[in-house]
């Protein structure tokens, strides 16, 4: 039997001993575009960061294709949040995508024809060819997101983790990014996206995860985001005291 692309088992992650995710279990297969939903503080970013290997779990763990995260580091692409990137860095879009090839090329190796081809293909796939020589600040928000996706593609990643990538994008850019995610899905990649707007769920994703510190539901959009489940995640607010009226 082939191991699932992503398996999360009994995962608990804490910040200063305060758990942000409790005993989470989930299994996901390749070729899906999955939205992660939930109220603020539900652990969406925490889950993505833990899968990326940026946070150390308190209990349980993450398996990528049956292997530990550290062994699969190059197959995972974590897209940083926009504010964590130094957009003034002296690098062009092409240079950024080339960074994705570094671990294959090694410390000294020259870029082979195959590496050049992988970079070209990534630029083409994400419609970045006209901007290849631009410095990364001279791009629109959506183009910047696509440039990072292209880097992940050049890196030959199987698992894409995106933290609120649609935040602050205008409609044109959102559409282009959604198309890019579909392209990845068609190539058999697994994409996990944290997202705040429930209304767009069915346009963007084929399945959903609903979190509220623990797993509320997982499955198709209709199933996972059913009114009952949403009530569980947002209504009986453990985290959002505003809507919580005990005894009323």
């Amino acid at each position: 039997m082939i191991a699932p692309l992503l398996k999360v088992e009994d995962l608990t992650v804490c910040y200063h001993r305060v758990p942000a995710i409790h005993h989470l279990n989930l299994t996901l297969e390749a070729g899906h575009c999955v939205g992660i939903f939930g109220p603020n503080g539900a652990g969406k970013s925490t889950l993505l960061k833990t899968i990326a290997g940026l946070l150390t779990p308190e209990t349980g763990g993450v398996r990528i294709g049956g292997k530990r995260v550290e062994e699969r580091a190059s197959r995972i692409a974590y897209l940083p949040q926009r504010e964590s990137v130094d957009w003034d860095f002296p690098v062009t879009v092409e240079g950024l995508v080339e960074m994705g090839r570094y671990h294959q090329v090694g410390l000294f190796g020259n870029f082979s024809i195959g590496d050049r081809e992988a970079v070209r293909k990534a630029l083409e796939l994400f419609k970045l060819e006209p901007f290849a020589k631009r410095q990364i600040k001279a791009l629109s928000g959506g183009q910047q997101q696509r440039a990072f996706l292209a880097r992940a593609w050049a890196q030959a990643a199987d698992l894409y983790l995106l933290d609120e990538p649609f935040a602050g994008l205008d409609r044109t850019s959102s559409k282009a990014l959604a198309e890019a995610l579909q392209t990845l899905k068609q190539h058999g990649k697994l994409i996990l996206v944290s997202h705040h707007a429930l209304s767009e769920a069915s346009n963007l994703f084929d399945s959903a995860i609903l979190l509220n510190g623990e797993l509320v539901s997982i499955g198709s959009i209709q199933e996972a985001l059913s009114p009952l489940h949403l009530e569980c995640a947002y209504g009986t607010a453990i985290y959002s005291g505003e809507h919580h009226h005990p005894g009323v």
């Binding site: 190059s74 940083p80 860095f89 002296p90 690098v91 671990h103 410390l107 629109s140």
Partner: protein, 313 residues
Amino acid sequence: MTPTSLISHLLEPFGYAFMQRALLSCALIGFTNGFLGTFIILRRQALLADALSHSLLPGVAVAAIFVGLSPGGLILGGLIAALLVALGGQMLARNSRLKDETAVASLYIVAFAVGVVLIRFSRVKVDLTHFLFGNILGVSDGDLWISYLTAFITLTSLAVFQRPLLLTLFDATVAHASGIRVRWLETGLLALTVLGLVASLQAVGVLLSLGLLILPAATAYLLTDSFPRMLWGGAVIGLLGSVSGLFLSFFANIPSGPCIILLLALFLGTAYIFSPNYGLLTSLLRKRHFHEESLERWDGHQEHDHRFPTSKD
């Protein structure tokens, strides 16, 4: 003045052995520090390097007290003092509410004060101006060897680890997640910075050494969008600036250290105003209306019409 006498006048400095050593030493330090500078600028650690440069003083003073002015002793002393301040700063920041820069700044001021006090107890005379600006004309063969060795160590290790360093500089978190030993690289970079500062102490002093770390790389940063070009550009600007600064100081009869710094500052100022992409002048002259994005949108609508409207239309 005939052309031949002009040339012989210009070549005059090369006639002196002390001047030959000074030029060689300047060229080596200028190139190496200019190269290393790119890493410091992109990590935004220019001020940390400044703090470290001042914290060398107590180490130098202790070395002067116990072993006199031997280059080996001074280097070792300075290295230990700077490492203590760097590591001590990290420790303070981790174990208290103080942030990194507050911790390091506090420690380096204390270190500098301790240094000034200790100098009084030294049998040999340690001149503070000398500490800050060095004595380029008094460079010995031993100092030159130290410069060769430092240049070799620094340039080789930076060249070998260029790719992982680039990934770390660009995004340390993501680099760490992809299996790069970010901590080791950062510590190594710090060690190279300290080595660069200490090794150039005798020749150019800490202030000029720092100037050669920061100013050329900052100039290159304003001129290019390519990481390799910034690296080599910084190195070449550092080399040109220090060698021509030394010549200038010889003919104008002014102190060489400040002369080199002022020349490098002139380069930086020129780039600040006239840089083709990021200069002050360019941003003032740029047509505001044709913002990158609106231009692009226009481009999208006018796929088959490559005639852009000019400001006259």
